[in-house]
């Protein structure tokens, strides 16, 4: 999750008006913020807008950050909230029914495009999961946050995080197993 001490020092420099220090923080957390926002929103462009909103919102609130705590979860909470706000604000688009071939079954994938097809299937499967569940599993399995940290990020009890990760994994592992079966 990066060095907390380094993060705290960068935050202190940013609060003192050091623009370059904020640039280092953005550089360090860009990948993570964009992935988390995409887990919430699905659409990559919306996700980038939300990640950007999150960074700039964090910049404005930086004086409120408690340097004794790790910076990553604090930032991810802001990014996840920015993504959720954006999802609520954006014009309601009718959820397109998922192509059954993307979620399971369907024709045997073309060997050339297997990786990209798996990515498509995973994104489609993630979209099927409730927002909190898919965010929790991405924060846990992709970003490596602990259950306690995710509880802080999402503002839910730790037990609920464990349950959300458990159910998301069960769905995604089934999908992965099906996919492996197909490409074998």
């Amino acid at each position: 999750m990066g060095s907390s001490e380094d993060d705290a020092a960068l935050v202190a420099r940013t609060v003192a008006g050091d623009r370059a220090a904020f640039g280092v923080l953005v550089e360090r957390y860009t990948g993570q913020a964009r992935r988390v926002a995409r887990a919430v929103l699905g659409d990559p462009d919306d996700a980038d807008d939300a990640a950007q909103d999150g960074f700039l919102s964090a910049l404005v609130k930086l004086a409120q950050y408690d340097a004794r705590r790790p910076f990553g979860p604090w930032l991810m909470r802001i990014v996840a909230n920015a993504a959720t706000d954006r999802r609520r604000r954006r014009t309601v688009r009718r959820a397109e029914p998922l192509d059954p071939s993307l979620v399971g079954g369907g024709p045997r994938p073309d060997a050339i495009a297997v990786r990209s097809e798996l990515g498509e299937r995973l994104r489609a499967a993630l979209k099927e999961l409730p927002e909190r569940r898919r965010t929790a599993v991405v924060l846990f399995d992709v970003e490596g946050y602990s259950h306690a940290e995710i509880a802080g990020i999402l503002g839910i009890p730790e037990g609920t995080v464990r349950s959300e990760v458990f159910h998301a994994r069960r769905r995604l592992r089934t999908l992965l197993a099906d996919w492996k079966e197909q490409v074998r």
Partner: protein
């Protein structure tokens, strides 16, 4: 929900697959530049609402203070104004003998006399 020990650790295979599915395709540096391009704007925008909030607190504060001042002045004038000592004095014009009688009256007026004279006039 039966938890296994592995439930407390990230699933490396699932994590890597999900990461590749969620990984943005475009340039990381371009995104950083895009955020940094709005650095000044974000800080400036954060300042404006703060000033607006302070101004919005300030305006009603001034209005409330002015209203309290006027109310206090009017109340004070009403309380400090001398009460008329007799019915005639009260009805007398502000200037003239009525006012003089009011100022020079040695004793407060007798209420029974005032009311009796009022009844008799009818």
């Amino acid at each position: 929900m039966n938890e296994l020990p592995s439930d407390f650790r990230p699933d490396a295979e699932l994590g890597a697959t999900l990461r590749s599915a969620l990984e943005p395709k475009d340039d990381h540096a371009a995104f950083v530049a895009r955020v940094m391009a709005r650095y000044d704007q974000a800080l400036a925008r954060a300042m404006i609402p703060t000033l607006d909030v302070l101004a919005s607190w300030f305006r009603p504060g001034i209005a409330a203070a002015a209203a309290a001042l006027i109310a206090g002045f009017l109340l004070g004038r009403a309380v400090l104004a001398p009460a008329p000592t007799s019915f005639d004095a009260a009805l007398a014009p502000v200037e003239g003998p009525g006012l003089a009688a009011l100022v020079t009256a040695p004793d407060p007026p007798d209420a029974s006399v005032v009311f009796t004279s009022l009844v008799e006039q009818r």
